[in-house]
């Protein structure tokens, strides 16, 4: 093994080890500050119940992709929760910057990328907890996976993808603003991006400005990916490659862009 190879391997091990350490710290925060985590679990459950009940009648529209409103709104709730799991890490980073704990992390002899990988691992863990809670709740409320295990997998990929995008976005804003002003921007942008899509209705039922905006919004494809295992088997979106690839591309590109945004922000913070 050459020196360069050895160095690269130890750097990689160090990134994962430090990331894991930061993840454990993030998970401990759930126990110590439940108020910071509970909203990201309560919100998807609330969204699912409230929307499924309020807009129950939209499933009666001829051609609507499912006859169960919980099937339509459970993925929306999970995507909202995942995004809040992600930007929640942005909030805690702001807190660490304000309390100067982050300076200690910056002084530690660890790879810089570990400071992004750590929150990413934490967000994924939180998203796993969220899904483990919300999916059974959805099933209790009447949601049914028509796409079987692959349908569950599609929903999980979308959920983890949104969490990854949100972590990058949340960290990037936290590093730039360095105070709670960033929190409002994080929440606002997540709300707008997720709502101005096919969040509430399928594309063909949208009209006006939302329809125009949703066509270009990557969240539309991610929600289509999330819902493909929950729509009726007769729907053209049901477990189809056409409902999958757009979401995967959106997740990969948006994750790359937001994580690069976070990395550049961290570099600026370092200077």
């Amino acid at each position: 093994m050459s020196t360069v190879e050895f160095h690269a391997e130890s750097l990689h091990t160090s990134t994962v080890a430090v990331g894991r350490g930061l993840m454990l710290r993030g998970l401990r925060t759930i126990r110590r500050m439940p108020s910071a985590f509970i909203p990201s679990v309560a919100m998807p459950v609330f969204t699912m119940i409230a929307f499924s009940g309020t807009y129950f009648a939209i499933t009666k529209i001829p051609g609507f992709p499912t006859d169960r409103s919980a099937n339509w709104f459970m993925p929306l709730g999970i995507c909202f929760g995942s995004s809040f799991s992600g930007i929640g890490l942005g909030f805690s980073t702001i807190r660490d910057i304000e309390t100067r704990f982050y300076e200690r992390l910056l002084m530690a002899p660890v790879p810089r990328r570990a400071l992004i990988v750590g929150p990413l691992f934490t967000a994924w863990s939180r998203t796993a907890i969220l899904n483990a809670f919300v999916i059974p709740m959805g099933l209790l409320l009447g949601a049914r996976f028509t796409g079987g295990i692959l349908g569950v997998l599609a929903l999980l990929v979308a959920s983890f993808g949104i969490a990854t995008i949100s972590v990058g976005w949340g960290l990037g804003l936290a590093y730039r603003f360095r105070d709670m002003r960033a929190a409002a921007i994080m929440q606002l942008t997540v709300f707008v991006v997720l709502y101005v899509s096919n969040a509430q209705m399928p594309m063909w039922l949208l009209s006006g400005w939302v329809h125009s905006a949703a066509r270009f919004n990557p969240a539309t494809n991610i929600l289509r990916l999330a819902r493909q295992g929950l729509v009726s088997a007769t729907s053209p979106d049901h477990m189809a490659w056409s409902s999958t690839w757009g979401g995967l591309v959106a997740i990969v590109i948006m994750s790359a862009v937001t994580l690069a945004f976070a990395r550049r922000g961290l570099d600026k913070l370092d200077k």
Binding site: A57, I61, W209
Partner: protein, 267 residues
């Protein structure tokens, strides 16, 4: 002699309450960042709903409307007013946090006026918000078939709802002395809004959700306002739009004043 003294004391209390009302109203005007979200978000959600649910107005059970925006006008007013009503209570909690409340207590001024002035400021802001939403959405198809009388009743109802919810939140502010606790309690009110017929007609709902919406006073309040938008002003619609918030207002103000008395007794 006693009655003259009592009259003078009442006048003084009213003057002091009026001055504090002026302060709480100016605070809203001078801190637009605090009130702007409660003006912008409801408009955004109204525009979003109009585009998203525009094709649902032919569903069985949906009332006859010109557009979804017209249907959702009443809900927009109530949503905005609920958002805005929290700012007065949060400001009261901030006064307690930064000890300004203690200075007011040290001054020889009316005690109940401290709370009532905040509530009056909230009510004025709520009425202003209602008028703002009705006027901004009107050119986009949210016409009010009940005309000017309906407009005036809706503005008054906006003020009363703001007063009622402001009073409820003020009791939280007085009990906890924490603006964060007020913000934390607010989602409970928001949940009440969602479990009502504010965003979709009750006739299209079913099961437990329908039963909750049937019992939820916000359903009846919004339906009263909606009646005026879609039809004419009737005694029934006025009763729903005005009497419900008045009833909540009386109960909530009593709770807030009793919380104030408890706080003063503990000093």
């Amino acid at each position: 002699m006693t009655s003259v003294l009592a009259e003078q004391s009442l006048r003084l209390s009213l003057r002091q309450t009026l001055q504090m009302t002026k302060r709480s109203t100016l605070e809203i005007v001078r801190q637009p960042a605090m009130s702007a979200p409660s003006m912008i978000f409801p408009i955004f959600f109204a525009a979003l709903g109009a585009s998203s649910f525009g094709k649902t107005t032919n569903l069985p059970g949906f009332p006859e409307v010109d557009s979804f925006l017209q249907f959702s006008l009443a809900a927009t007013v109530i949503q905005g007013v609920l958002f805005g009503s929290i700012s007065g209570a949060a400001a009261l909690a901030t006064d307690i946090e930064n000890k300004f409340f203690d200075r007011l207590l040290l001054a020889p001024s009316t005690r109940s006026g401290i709370v009532l002035a905040r509530l009056a400021g909230s009510a004025l802001f709520g009425a202003f918000q209602a008028a703002f939403f009705l006027l901004v959405l009107w050119p986009f198809g949210a016409t009010i078939r009940g005309g000017v009388p309906a407009f005036l009743v809706m503005v008054a109802s906006g003020g009363l709802v703001s007063l009622a919810i402001g009073a409820l939140m003020s009791s939280v502010a007085i009990r906890t002395g924490s603006a964060e606790a007020v913000q934390g309690a607010f989602p409970l009110i928001f949940i009440l809004l969602f479990f009502s017929s504010a965003f979709f007609p009750r006739e299209t709902m079913s099961g437990t959700y329908r039963k909750i919406a049937d019992f939820n006073p916000i359903s009846h309040l919004v339906e009263g306002l909606r009646d005026m938008v879609l039809h004419q002003v009737t005694m029934g619609s006025i009763a729903k739009a005005v009497l419900i918030p008045i009833a909540v207002c009386i109960a909530a103000t009593m709770v807030a004043l009793s919380a104030l008395r408890a706080r003063l007794a503990a000093l």
